[in-house]
């Protein structure tokens, strides 16, 4: 007689069953598992890798991974190198997709797709004007208000504007021209900033219907004096920008008008003389619980290297603005993000498609998940 395995388990006849398996116990017939879902709330380390698929760029993806288990959890199939952003309530991944009827030609349809973070399936979509900026994916091309009510999409035609989608009504409620300015750095429930070519920071405030109620422009930097990299990192309503030379400019967007914070340098004069400067794609990350800033740094700075990957990460205390540590990785890392829990990881996408994992409690590189993506431009976390 062959005991089916569930029976073995049920009867707790472990010894007998092992013996049976050793002779002729059959494995039971199985069913195909469907409708797999991921737990909610998500593990605080769950990571979403935005994969540009540069060698294709039509059918693109977001890869969802568990960096602690080094496990792929699933993926989202996106259209046209879509940017992605997570809702604050952890329930939704928004992607801003572009679809063509014949993949590379024919009628274009732009949509915001709202994906469920547990089922990794689309929950709803809304068609938006066919203006979405198509760039190497960067943060703040797509963002959400703090209460997740509004989704802001950066448009570039090359005129620049912001499409406002109301996630409650599931419809487009506004398009705001932002001439000479780019991106949307969200602040609070109804405000976003844009970085302008004249060196100003423009802030638009909306009402609950997505209509503009206020717009300000504040001098922030001198674009003829320095290159301020637009790929900032946010920590709540505070954003840190850095120049290609390592000059940090912070701004607090929590009030009605932006409050420009005292500027500081990533490097000492001596370090600059030695050739240290930042470089990378998403080259900075903040771990809010540690109040620390992580920056990809190059030892052999040259002006054209500002978007190059690096194996070196410098660590700063955001309170003292001092460098407190250095981390090294065997990979060339291009984009960083840190998790927002109190035992945070730093995640770095490397140029071979892998994800480098750093334990920020220990302050060190832990491991690399090789080959989980193709052209990972960004990693984002809840």
């Amino acid at each position: 007689m062959r005991l089916p395995r569930p029976l073995c388990k049920g009867l707790l006849l472990a010894a007998a069953c092992v013996a049976a398996a050793g002779t002729q116990a059959q494995l039971p017939v199985e069913k195909l598992g469907q409708n797999t879902t991921l737990p909610f709330p998500p593990d605080p380390h769950r990571s979403y890798i935005v994969d540009f698929e540069f060698n294709n760029m039509v059918a693109t993806r977001v890869v969802v991974v568990d960096p602690d288990q080094r496990k792929v959890l699933g993926m989202l199939s996106t259209g046209g190198a879509a940017p992605a952003v997570l809702s604050h309530d952890q329930k939704t991944v928004y992607t801003a997709d572009i679809f063509f009827e014949r993949y590379v030609r024919g009628k274009r349809t732009d949509v915001i797709t709202a994906w469920d973070t547990s089922s990794l399936s689309p929950r709803w979509e809304v068609e938006i004007p066919s203006k979405r900026a198509s760039t190497l994916t960067e943060r703040y091309g797509l963002s959400t208000s703090a209460d997740d009510r509004f989704v802001y999409i950066y448009n570039f035609t090359p005129s620049t504007s912001i499409t406002v989608v109301d996630s409650k009504k599931q419809e487009v409620v506004n398009e705001l021209a932002i001439p000479g300015c780019i991106l949307n750095y969200p602040a609070g429930e109804r405000r976003f900033a844009s970085l302008c070519g004249d060196g100003k920071l423009q802030v638009i405030t909306l009402d609950d219907n997505g209509q503009e109620v206020n717009r300000t422009a504040t001098r922030f930097f001198d674009p003829d004096e320095e290159k301020l990299i637009e790929r900032a990192v946010g920590n709540g309503d505070t954003y840190y920008f850095v120049t290609t030379e390592g000059h940090v400019r912070g701004v607090d967007l929590s009030g009605k008008k932006p409050k420009v914070l005292p500027d500081w340098w990533l490097t000492t004069k001596q370090e600059r003389q030695e050739g240290w400067a930042p470089g990378g794609w998403q080259l900075m990350a903040v771990a809010p619980e540690l109040n620390r800033l992580y920056v990809l740094m190059h030892p052999d700075h040259a002006p054209h290297k500002w978007e190059d990957p690096s194996q070196t990460i410098w660590v700063y205390d955001l309170k003292t603005r001092k460098k407190v540590d250095t981390m090294e990785t065997p990979s060339l890392v291009w984009s960083l993000n840190a998790t927002s829990d109190d035992k945070p990881l730093l995640l770095g996408t490397n140029i071979e498609g892998g994800l480098d994992i750093f334990d920020l409690t220990k302050g060190e590189y832990v491991d690399t998940m090789d080959g989980v993506s193709k052209t990972p431009t960004l990693v984002i976390n809840h």
């Binding site: 080094r70 993926m75 547990s118």
Partner: protein, 175 residues
């Protein structure tokens, strides 16, 4: 063979965990080839991928995230175990195809040949993880239900292929 490390992964010792084609042909065609050699059973090394592996059952040895795993003897595609699914369940947001191809694989733990269905999970594009091709019990395309060069997502809402699972459907032949 450098092929193994590049285009598609394939078990370097896959003979160990599988039955021969002749044996399979025999079962299907009521035609048993005399002299089909019994493959030597070698242990399957799981240490290298221990962290990524799902919990193995006694009696079902091996690492379902490895192309070496015995059930994958006729798989051709991406292993769902590496894609957010498991050896027999589809990743989140994908749909399992209801039509499929089958293979016959020998379980090295019990020496039994099992019928394995290789259901494709569909509706997202290529998982692109753990590419694995093994053709042990594959037949030419005129026997489609034993052929792994077909995108079996034809049994799903969208015929877009994400990955493949390996589901035990019964016993082909006791060892």
């Amino acid at each position: 063979m450098k092929f193994l490390d590049r285009f598609f992964e394939r078990s370097t010792r896959h003979v160990a965990s599988t039955t021969s084609r002749r044996r399979f042909l025999g079962r299907l065609g009521s035609f048993l080839v005399a002299g089909a050699a019994m493959p030597v059973l070698l242990p399957v090394d799981r240490t290298a991928k221990a962290l990524a592996a799902e919990s193995p059952q006694a009696g079902d040895p091996g690492d379902p995230t490895s192309c070496d795993y015995w059930r994958y003897c006729s798989v051709d595609g991406f292993l769902c175990s590496c894609c957010g699914g498991t050896v027999n369940s589809c990743p989140p947001g994908t749909q399992g195809s209801e039509v499929t191809w089958v293979g016959t694989c020998r379980n090295p733990a019990d020496g039994i040949d099992y019928i394995i269905s290789y259901n494709d999970c569909c509706g997202k594009h290529s998982c692109a993880q753990c590419a694995c091709t093994r053709n042990d019990s594959e037949e030419p395309m005129y026997r489609p239900f034993n052929n792994n060069d077909i995108n079996w997502c034809l049994g799903a809402d969208a015929n877009v292929y994400n990955c493949t699972v390996a589901v035990i459907r019964g016993v082909a032949k006791a060892g």
